[in-house]
Amino acid sequence: MFRSLQSDDHNLITLSVNGRSVKARKGQSVWSAMAVASEVVTRKAALSGNARSAYCAMGVCFECMVEIDGLANQQACLSRVAEGMNVSTQVITEDTEADAGL
């Protein structure tokens, strides 16, 4: 279980993670905000569909790719939270179909 060592409630913002409203601190990484909210599954692996989560937290494993405000492949560990941000677990496997188009 992840938790924050900061107890005051200064500089809090609200974002949504997988549809849940989550509080985070301004400047915090999207990954650590997810971790504290126990939303640790960042993406589904492309072939097996297995759940994956951040591994390195420093930008070198690309396990933490999430969808942020409709844009896929965003590294949660390198992205910063913002008020009203929409974050979701990235599900792009070999079988994912796009929306209907035109």
Binding site: A45, S48, A57, V60, C61, N73
Partner: protein, 465 residues
Amino acid sequence: MQAFDCAIVGAGPAGMSAALALTQGGADVIVLDRADRAGGQIYRSASSSPLPDAASLGPDYAAGADLITRFERSGAKHLAGADAWHIGDDGRILFSYQGDTRELHCREMLLCPGAMERPMPIPGWTLPGVMTAGAAQVMLKSDAVVADGAVFAGSGPLLYLIVAQYLRLGVRVAALVDTTPRRHYLDAAPLLPRAWRQVGQLRKGLSLLREIRAAGVDTYRYAENLEVIGEETAKGLRFSISGQPHEVSADTVFLHHGVQPNLNMTRAMGLAHHWNNAQMCWQVTVDEFGQSAISHVSVAGDGAGIVGADGACAAGRVVAQNMLYHLGRVSRTGRDRNSHADLYYLSSMKPFRRFIDCLYRPTEALRLPRDTETLVCRCEEQSLGDLRAGFEQGARDPNALKSLTRCGMGPCQGRQCGHVVTGLLAQWRKESPDAVGYYRLRSPQRLLTVDELGRYNTIPAEAAK
């Protein structure tokens, strides 16, 4: 396009120290770093810690704040949040900044991309809940976020440091599972007398271990056959000691067995690299001044071979003197005089480095996977068995294996699997890692949207400034 005397990529100890020396020498310098704040790995957020008590991270960390302040006042232009995605041997750098690709030119280029942790492909290492020990530290330093009741496994000073940092902050640690083999203590012992010159460093290391022991954390030594247990997420760690099975339950498992240079930047540029057998990793080939075969491209710090933070600072200063010499701002003798003390320090560090490298040498059992199902390539989910099958189909070169199996083709661009693939092919071909080689890498260094690249070269020059 803006032009500079010097462009530095990476504002860690190496890049900051180099920038200080270069600006003092009168050069006009720009430093790019993707992070919002200068500091690099060790001094991450040191000038703006979110922790209630940053002193618990230790005196080294506090010292970082001073270096950062001096750097910020040096007159070097620091572009925070600038993520370099192409570094050309012609002195051109393309980087993402605030959503756009910008471009700059420089006469002298210094790469200080630092290190990353060595991947540990044990069974279950891809389960949610398994992270590197460095990840624990990153989350702690930048966001004051910790994991309660985690197990830490592996070996090396960084592992003990983060455990100690957790303990000082009152975070519960389930266990420390030390994988340093008994044999390594025997192998390293003869190197100890010469390493003694760095007695301060040795003391620091010992006191960390004492601190952990005193805190009463369950500590297991000489652990082997590590395996993360759990189906969907990590539930704990299984291992054996002298053949006896052990198990520790934990939702979070932090792994670590040393660091290796971040290769992608120097590899994508096509610089020569060689295998460092003491540190079991690739490193870029540079001379004592950090200069590569392309004379206007230099590399310093952990990105040029693991030297630690103090070594990175010294190396940054040395490289800076050589660059000033190239720029005609100091004479050759001036360069040699100004870098004498740092070069001496770097060479006097060597016996200590050798001792540490020997004691904490990554074991083959943790460097290379043993079970056929264990994934080597996390992105494209290629297992040891898949790679072996590819090898048997004639793919003997890392690039051929990549083309055949997709191992190394995912977004991490081989950062996680590259060393493992070299290691496996070396074993299978019964040849040296140097003979086997590595992936041919290319820019971009990271994912780039079609939208962003599409706007490149259309941004008016004034806006690019």
